[in-house]
Symmetry: C2
Subunit: 332 residues, 2 copies
């Protein structure tokens, strides 16, 4: 598929803390930026129809229900068959859209993508993947929360799928894959990590060894795989630490007249640094291993993050990430 073929992305109008306003704003920006994207806007008629009729390349897809952030994901997906998440996933399943993007409940999106769209044949567990905000270089991590409990063999596929995402979307050629562990040597780590190490050494051609927590943001490796529990904790730890440090930095810089004047001189460069490590750059976390594309944005997404999410979903369709995963996993 070339960049000029039209790609249809189903977008959950009701996903995120500031839906639907921020979502509509972001969709409008995405449509304006890429004329080869068509958006299937999923949500209550009164929200999606007026917007679709006033925007080119936008089709309204009514869905009467909404899954809230605090609902039990799998249960809500089974029960609310006319929710924006389920209807959006169904559009992908039926081929009316090639990708689905939502800034709503991550769990419900995962459940929707797995139960409605379905796994790629041969994939044991789809993995949620994210680019770690590093000031050095992008680092792709999987799983960041789809599978709190993993078997060591799942990590082999996480490595293969995340490597394809790193190459196709993040633009890292021949990514070096590491296993997140608590020591550099083969024999270090929990029983789980030791078993995963042996399997990865045998089966993952671009496996480069163990990475420790301190190696994540330094970008010594391009792809880091782990179970969904550790991955989720680590991603949030990186985000939390960066946020706390920028907060402390702000306090330092506004503590006196002298520092305020100094801060003025570095303000714009600091802002660039802060933006460079923003999680919003890659538009959300893709669920790798499902048919079609499913991308989940932060609940706190602003319009720019929503726009990036729609564009990133389209990029994943155009680069045929799912097809490449199907081929790679089928090969084994």
């Amino acid at each position: 598929m070339s960049h000029t073929d039209t790609v249809t992305i189903a977008v959950d109008a009701m996903g995120g803390d500031n839906a639907p306003e921020v979502v509509l704003e972001g969709v409008a920006e995405a449509l304006a930026e890429d004329p080869c994207i068509e958006v299937l806007l999923v949500g209550p008629s009164e929200v999606v129809e007026p917007f679709a009729s006033s925007h080119a390349h936008c089709i309204a897809q009514p869905a009467s229900e909404v899954i809230a952030m605090d609902e039990h994901p799998a249960e809500a997906v089974r029960r609310k068959k006319d929710s924006s998440i389920v209807v959006g996933c169904r559009a992908v399943k039926e081929g009316r859209a090639q990708g689905f993007f939502s800034a709503g409940s991550t769990g419900a999106c995962l459940a929707g993508a797995t139960l409605v769209v379905g796994r790629i044949k041969g994939v044991q567990r789809p993995a949620l993947c994210s680019v770690i905000p590093s000031p050095v270089a992008p680092v792709v991590m999987a799983d960041i929360g789809a599978n709190a409990d993993c078997k060591p063999e799942y990590l082999v596929q996480f490595a293969q799928m995340a490597s394809i995402y790193a190459e196709k979307i993040v633009g890292i050629e021949n990514p070096r894959v590491a296993l997140l562990n608590i020591g550099e040597e083969d024999t270090k780590g929990s029983q789980f990590a030791q078993q995963a190490f042996a399997l990865m050494k045998e089966k993952v051609s671009n496996f480069a060894g163990n990475a420790e927590g301190r190696d994540i943001v330094t970008a010594g490796f391009d792809v880091i795989v782990t179970d969904g529990f550790t991955g989720n904790v680590v991603l949030k730890t990186v985000e939390g630490t960066a946020k706390a440090l920028f907060g402390a930095l702000k306090n330092v810089m506004t503590s006196s007249l002298k520092t305020k004047i100094g801060a003025l001189a570095v303000k714009s460069d600091l802002k660039s640094l802060k933006e460079s490590i923003s999680a919003d750059t890659y538009g959300g976390a893709p669920l790798l291993g499902v048919k079609g594309v499913c991308l989940v944005g932060h609940g706190s997404s602003n319009a720019t993050a929503i726009k990036n999410g729609v564009l990133a979903s389209a990029a994943m369709v155009r680069k045929d990430v799912s097809g490449c995963i199907a081929e790679a996993v089928g090969k084994r």
Copy 2:
């Protein structure tokens, strides 16, 4: 024990990347700072004897062997009976010292403390504990690496032991304890985390719920417990993220004449911030749950960190942390 009673700390002269020079320097500083500390300096005669004869309150304790950082910990402890780590632990076991401090192999120190000094009766697994470098307030975390594989019930004792350390040494009254998890709700997390949650809710009186990765450095909780695999990854992630951000900040501040001038105005405040989140402040990671005191410093410790480690070990002896743990665990 009052602050004026003399406390004897066995110090591993051969521990750390820059041993013995940096260790001797740090010991000299500690002895100068606190006249009620006596150091039993453990290492090769030619290192410890000249130092002891030229410093008051220092006794030489010859030990002919050294355990290297890359040796298998338990094996090395069993084989090298005259190593500085084993001899230092034996001094604690025999009552010739009340505490042991080393900046050497963490694994070997843990093995030495567990095999030679021994666990407190009733403690299932000793836990390695650390103060997380947060710009907001100190947060105590356990386990940070002694037990890569844990049973959920171990975390109950980790919570009790780390709470005592937080109160006695870090000075946090009525510390709020959290379980590290991937969601705030009771039902979130891996099977391990869900089981640990239920046990902690039942058995830990100061349990305050789940903490996510983003809650660690914000100091929303005082004590965070987790298994040693996740704890080790998280601690190193916080350290790595802070280091990378300070590195990026330095690049920003030296990128142009304008930013260099601005940087001058904030330099000293920035340095204070950097020091406030330094891991060296608390002098190392205590192994909680063994008889006597065992504190492990960073391999990269400088003289100040060694000094802090010796002083912190003495503080743990004076506050009778081990006795309080024995009492708390015995009560259950």
